[in-house]
Amino acid sequence: MGEVELSCLAYVKMYLHACLFPRCSVNGLLLSSSPAGGAVCVTDCVPLLHTHLPLAPITQLALTQVDVWCAQTQQRIVGYYQANACVSDSSPTPCALKIADKIAEQCNNAVLLMIDGGKMSPDYRVPPIVMYERKDTRWTLKDKHTIMLRQWEETRDIASQLLDSGDHSLLVDFDSHLDDITRDWTNQKLNAKIAELASPANGNV
């Protein structure tokens, strides 16, 4: 199918989400601020859960709220990501497939992204991600060459920097928001920090 571009912002937040909860499976939604048609540009992500991923109520709630926020901010939900607690198995779980199916109903070139926990150490040369796309009714592995991550090395360094400085703890997922609703699951603060780190390296993140 088509090309998928993953922005620095989306990648860094997904990565930090997985790092923040190393003993849990985590998931989230991939967003795009680009219009539909052509390549899928994942420009942002919303980290959702780190507990009870298969349970329905909070997932439904989060999907609804993110939907509303996207409408308010001219974004669309274009995909789903998940990192499994058990690093030896990075294949999509039934709940991942279910949520991805739901997203594909509204977005026909939706992507399902699995973070490969076993390949997340800082000296890995390639992004530790595996992407799936929907062909007929099944999610099939995407050709690596159709996935683009501009300025991968800078992106990877930004993620490492934020981990080292402890700033990854700024990340708020939907679960954390429900524990304390004064915390912002749109992560404006962390977004600003990432933008700050990205700007000297390149002008377009």
């Binding site: 009870h52 349970l55 109520p57 509303v68 308010q72 058990c86 402890g166």
Partner: protein, 297 residues
């Protein structure tokens, strides 16, 4: 890091108290424990008296969690020296093997503990943890069920089993585990709320009504449980919107949903004051509640 700041400006006693509190609350804040504990051990060991041994244990486990095998090894040696032949220390040695992913060796270690003491629950639970770490969920579930037949009062084990069942999408059995927990912990709002979530996930009118009841119960036990509040809102809304329900039931659930909406709005208004940080999330909730009201009427 923030922890270094705490270490320098706070006395030895305060550091020791922090570690004790984290122990008592069973906090898994391993990086912090390593930060504080390592300094205490390296620089103030003489001032800790007999506390040092439990601190070695606590720091060792935290060190394993942070891949600090060097520190874990040091703690283990001290404990081995002080308590030769101790089952408790043997178990710690087993945990280190687990952290190094030497699962067969770890299992043998636990088997040797169980040979001397077949009722050693800690060793049995570690063996189940190994199965979990290896992704052998079906076996872990089987072993845990067997364990619970013998040790029926082990809350931690019931909860672990409920989590395993949830991950396997076996909601009926997860609900059973949570029912056990609710029976023995009637004041625990978290168990009520988790039970309600499982029922909601199972779906169907009967389960939805049960879920609504248990979300409400969780709120009675803790009126600040936001998951329970949203859960009440969603389950009541779905019941009210269901074509099968009669007018009385519909009316009652519309009322519950309206009450929940009110509470949610109040909570978010309160949260939205002061910081401009969470304006986006507050706005999203407001609009969501409005839009769902429209679909319900």
């Amino acid at each position: 890091s923030v922890c270094k700041f705490i270490s320098y400006s706070v006395g030895v006693h305060k550091m020791r108290d922090k570690l004790r509190k984290w122990r008592e609350d069973n906090h898994r804040n391993s990086e912090q424990i390593v930060d504080v504990g390592e300094e205490l051990i390296n620089e103030h060991a003489s001032k800790l008296g007999d506390d040092i041994w439990i601190i070695y244990e606590q720091v060792m486990i935290a060190a394993l969690d942070c891949s600090r095998d060097d520190l874990a090894w040091t703690c283990l040696q001290e404990l081995k020296r002080q308590f030769p032949g101790s089952q408790r220390v043997k178990r710690l040695a087993g945990m280190r093997l687990e952290a190094l992913e030497k699962y067969e060796d770890a299992s043998k270690q636990y088997d040797s503990i169980l040979q001397d003491d077949p009722t050693n629950t800690a060793a049995r639970k570690r063996k189940i943890s190994i199965l979990k770490a290896q992704g052998k969920s079906a076996e872990a579930i089987r072993e845990l069920n067997e364990y619970l037949e013998q040790f029926v009062g082990d809350q931690e084990a019931w909860h672990e089993l409920s989590e395993l069942y949830i991950n396997e999408h076996d909601y009926g059995k997860a609900a059973f585990c949570l029912e056990e927990l609710m029976m023995t912990n009637p004041h625990n709002h978290l168990y009520c709320e988790q039970y309600a979530e499982v029922k909601y996930t199972q779906g169907g009118l009967e389960n939805l009504e049960l879920s609504r009841k248990y979300f409400a119960q969780a709120l009675k036990l803790n009126n600040r449980n936001m998951r329970a509040l949203f859960g009440l809102y969603m389950s009541a809304s779905h019941i009210a919107a269901c074509p099968k329900v009669n007018a009385t039931v519909k009316k009652a659930n519309v009322k519950y949903a309206a009450w929940a909406t009110n509470q949610i709005n109040r909570a978010y208004q309160l949260a939205g004051r002061g910081t401009k940080e969470n304006k986006c999330s507050v706005k999203a909730v407001e609009e969501m509640l409005e839009s769902m009201q429209i679909t319900m009427s």
